[in-house]
């Protein structure tokens, strides 16, 4: 019985999550006010798109990108510049979103072209450096980006003549959910296409894949670009959801790490895994910590003079241990893709066999 439930969860996790997400706003209305959380789910949907972007780069292709926040920032600021009324463009939500995705894809190629040939850990550091450069540049180029103020106010989206507003969150919820579903569908089709298979082949064994006629540079570049485009999309949605790009330091290393945690803890290369990772990570970061802070504050347990009593101060510690423990005990993540799991276990078995032989 447990096994059946487990298999349903693993194989149909996507549908399962979708069903829960669809009815959540209805159920949420019955909860007491301070426990309502469905409105807080929206960051999960937006950042899940970021996680799916990283999943293409890291999960499928096996390239570690630690600078995804930079592409999210590019998305947010492009969207801001294209829509805000202090700039000449003043486009609508859908045009701006489409253009932003294109700009993100282009930015991915521009960064990827010179760097994609680098070895894995060097690529990780280059992308990390790019992320930090982007953040500082956005802060310093005040004449274009408004510096630390961020670009605001940004107009709300419209759909078939309906104007979204910041006060009513339910339409936002379904809009973001629909966009996330579209990205999931896109990702899934991509995974099973020719391109997706060559990504996975590159991850498994680059030399073998090259011998089979896969052009590694082209294929990796494409992964980089798709990842960047999805990150830019999530940036644009983030900016339109907040009504402002926020300050450049919102797109810092921490965002890249949260995306990495989603992919790694959830399960590399598996869409349901990444979605679960997003629910766990962002749910923890922007729902549980926020609610815990309010509840503890009501009970008078928070002393702002004492760092230990503020829940959000424990964030780094918890993320850090989550990464360390996952790598140590369940490197394939909570909902692994079958291939990654098989590969990792093969490796462990090899190591064990080697140890045994040595002992003899």
């Amino acid at each position: 019985m447990l096994d059946v439930i487990r298999r349903v969860l693993v194989l149909r996790a996507g549908w399962f999550l979708l069903a829960i997400a669809l009815v959540l706003p209805l159920v949420d209305g019955f909860l007491p006010r301070e426990y309502q959380f469905a409105g807080l789910m929206r960051p999960i949907f937006i950042l899940a798109i970021l996680g799916l972007g990283l999943n293409v780069v890291t999960g499928y292709t096996g390239l570690l990108n630690l600078g995804l926040a930079a592409f999210m920032a590019i998305g947010a600021y492009s969207y801001g510049i294209l829509t805000c009324d202090i700039y000449p463009f003043q486009l609508g939500f859908w045009t701006a979103l489409t253009l932003t995705i294109g700009i993100g894809a282009l930015a991915g190629i521009v960064l990827g072209l010179p760097t994609i040939r680098l070895r894995g850990d060097y690529l990780a550091i280059v992308t990390l450096g790019f992320g930090e450069m982007m953040q500082d540049s956005l802060k310093n180029l005040e004449s274009i980006t408004q510096g630390t103020q961020g670009i605001n106010p940004l107009p709300s989206p419209t759909l078939f003549g309906y104007q979204f507003s910041t006060e009513i969150w339910v339409p936002w919820y379904y809009l973001l959910l629909a966009l996330l579903a579209a990205v999931v569908l896109f990702s899934r089709n991509l995974e099973h296409s020719r391109v997706g298979r060559s990504w996975i082949a590159i991850r498994e064994d680059e030399i073998a894949a090259t011998c089979m006629g896969v052009n590694p540079v082209k294929v990796k570049l494409l992964a980089f670009s798709v990842g960047a485009a999805l990150a830019a999309m999530s940036g644009a949605l983030w900016a339109s959801y907040l009504g402002s790009t926020g300050e450049p330091s919102n797109y810092d290393f921490q965002i890249s790490i949260i995306a990495l945690c989603m992919v790694i803890i959830g399960g590399m290369g598996n869409i349901s895994g990444v979605l679960l990772g997003a629910v766990v990570m962002i749910g923890f970061n922007s729902i549980i910590l926020v609610k815990l802070t309010t509840i503890l504050a009501q009970k008078g347990l928070i002393d702002t003079q004492n760092v230990l009593t503020v829940p959000s101060n424990w964030k780094y510690m918890i993320f850090g241990f989550a990464l360390i423990l996952t790598m140590r005990f369940k490197p394939e993540g909570l909902l692994p893709s079958r291939q990654v799991q098989a590969e990792l276990h093969e490796m462990q078995e090899d190591a064990r066999a080697r140890k045994k032989n040595c002992a003899k």
Partner: protein, 320 residues
């Protein structure tokens, strides 16, 4: 101040900071040379070292005494305790977090190191909330902390001179240079140094020759951590401000230095550190302070992209 004097002054500051960066870079380069791991937590280890240094300064009451004539006697316990703490901590982290992952895919220990770095940053945040005078009684834990002068600040070139050289600069070179020389000699001539070079060249062959590879790797983490600890004492007493997120920034500088010099190469780390130190100082003076980090990261990206073996490193061939 004439233009030459400005240039000279920046050169002095750049070289001093460069020596400190080089000392941290050695930790990156040694670990990378042996286990091919970018020890992401190294910068944050350095940060914890400086927090321990400030705690000891507070316990000894060094912040209460007026500025010393030459060097406060307090730097002796600092230079013993902090490197010891950082070395053992680094060794322990390797033992618990990285060693079980030696046979895992290469990105696994890197991700683990990122996790360790986050845990360290969080410990630094809590440490800043310690109820001690030097930590402002634990109020505003996240804000930068002042590190008192434990070295005389009088100008050695006389009060009339525009260029300022203090015992501080002398102290920086007096600590960092002997440490680097000692390390170079140790790697060249001692038994463990020989073992380190052997493991760096080929771990399997080294193991077959009877070298305990895990012990050698442990020793590398211990030494690298101790150097970061020494660097944190020198850094805090030279720059006078420490904060819990500085590990990332300083660590990136040091890593850039290690890569620029050629990762795995000890003289490369020194050269890279000095170059980065000088570039930072020049960029602060002649470009703008807020663009300095962008300049350093641009250098990192350019070097990695066009000459990944660095200035002094041998071009590495990818093993198949």
């Amino acid at each position: 101040m004439t233009n030459t004097e400005v240039l000279l002054q920046q050169l002095i500051i750049g070289l001093s900071n460069g020596m400190i960066i080089a000392l941290i870079a050695l930790g990156y380069t040694m670990v990378y040379g042996i286990v091919e791991l970018i020890n992401f937590a190294h910068g944050d280890l350095f940060m914890l070292g400086s927090f321990l240094a400030l705690t000891i300064v507070g316990m000894l009451g060094l912040d209460q005494v007026p500025e010393p004539a030459l060097i406060s006697w307090g730097f002796v316990p600092l230079l013993i305790a902090v490197p010891l703490f950082c070395g053992i901590l680094n060794w322990g982290v390797d033992r618990l977090a990285y060693r079980p992952l030696r046979n895992a895919p290469r990105l696994a220990p890197l991700v683990s190191a990122i996790g360790v770095s986050f845990v360290f940053v969080n410990i630094g945040l809590f440490w800043g909330g310690l109820r001690m005078d030097v930590f402002n009684d634990g109020v505003a834990a996240a804000s930068p902390k002042d590190f008192p002068w434990i070295v005389a600040s009088g100008n050695l070139l006389g009060e009339a001179s525009n260029i300022i050289v203090t015992w501080n600069e002398v102290f920086v070179f007096g600590i960092t240079l002997p440490l680097m020389i000692a390390l170079t000699l140790a790697v060249k001539f001692t038994r463990i140094g020989k073992a380190m070079r052997a493991v760096a060249q080929n771990p399997t062959a080294a193991q077959l020759m009877g070298i305990d590879v895990d012990r050698v790797i442990g020793a590398t983490f211990l030494i690298g951590g101790a150097l970061a600890g020494a660097a944190s004492v020198v850094y805090s007493s030279y720059n006078h401000t420490i904060y819990f997120q500085m590990g990332f920034r300083v660590g990136m500088d040091a890593f850039t230095a290690a890569v620029l010099g050629g990762i795995g190469s000890l003289p490369g780390a020194l050269l890279g550190g000095l170059v980065i130190g000088i570039i930072r100082a020049m960029s602060d003076q002649y470009i703008a302070t807020e663009w300095t980090n962008v300049v350093v990261f641009a250098i990192l990206i350019i070097v990695l992209t066009f000459r990944p073996s660095g200035l002094l490193g041998a071009p590495a061939r990818e093993k198949v």
